[in-house]
Assembly symmetry: C2
Homo-oligomer: 152 residues x 2
């Protein structure tokens, strides 16, 4: 049974997740499977790219963050899915050995007009490395079931 419903995600809600260490092996493993660009795949080749050394695919950072979000609260939430991404920014490289923390906050929340069983929450995510550098931000709408369908 879910612990959290739409009503629990009002503006002001925040969460801190992690830290989560990122290894060289998983950076290369993800890249080989899904984003085989030299800066994500091979240390020597990466030195000659704009990133100046091996760094995680931006999509890999999204995936790591998603796992932290799922384990952190989403699996305990009456989520009805996410229709997409409003915006994502890859601000700094994520390096082998980096330890990531994620900070989430609610930007907006509104009950659905047409479907009384649910509401829409806009979540804003910031990812930091162990030095406090912001490496990524993500803004995502999330559909969440209401605890009391149709209540005011």
């Amino acid at each position: 049974m879910p612990k959290f419903y739409f009503e629990d995600f009002a503006p002001g809600w925040t969460i801190e997740l992690g830290p989560r260490r990122v290894t060289r092996e998983e950076i290369i493993g993800y890249a080989a499977r899904y984003d085989p660009q030299p800066m994500h795949l091979d240390e020597e080749a990466a030195r000659h790219t704009m990133l100046g050394g091996l760094a995680a695919s931006g999509w890999h950072t999204c995936a790591i963050m998603m796992k932290m979000i799922a384990d952190g609260f989403l699996l305990d939430t009456a989520s009805m899915g996410a229709p997409g991404v409003e915006e994502a920014k890859w601000l700094k490289p994520v390096r082998p050995g980096d330890s990531l923390t994620v900070r989430g906050s609610v930007r907006a929340a509104r009950a659905s007009q047409s479907k009384p069983d649910r509401g829409f929450v806009t979540l804003h995510w910031e990812v930091f490395n162990q030095r406090g550098d912001k490496v990524m931000t993500l803004t995502c709408p999330q559909m969440i079931q209401r605890r009391r369908a149709g209540a005011a």
Copy 2:
């Protein structure tokens, strides 16, 4: 040596990639690692969710598309990276056995004002399944090296 530079990505440029078949095993494998929500992880549990059956994580669809883009032309392009995502929409579920094709087009292209060696291209991506349903769209800026730095 790259084959494609900024000058090659004018509005009107299009590309078709795929088909690429998505298996049940990889849907579950990705979900276990990065997005362990029931609708991505377990057929029986997925039947009771809003997706009505097992479907790939939206982030997994992004990853599959990224690999098709890399293999399709990006590894032959003088890419200088992507600063993020302007917008992504997950429109329909991607099911086990689906065969995905990707259509890309250039929305906008402009040379950098401050850095004469590069330009910015806004790429729009659409992903279709074997029935022609549009399952996802993505709009992404891409930084690409100019063939002739500073030329008009």
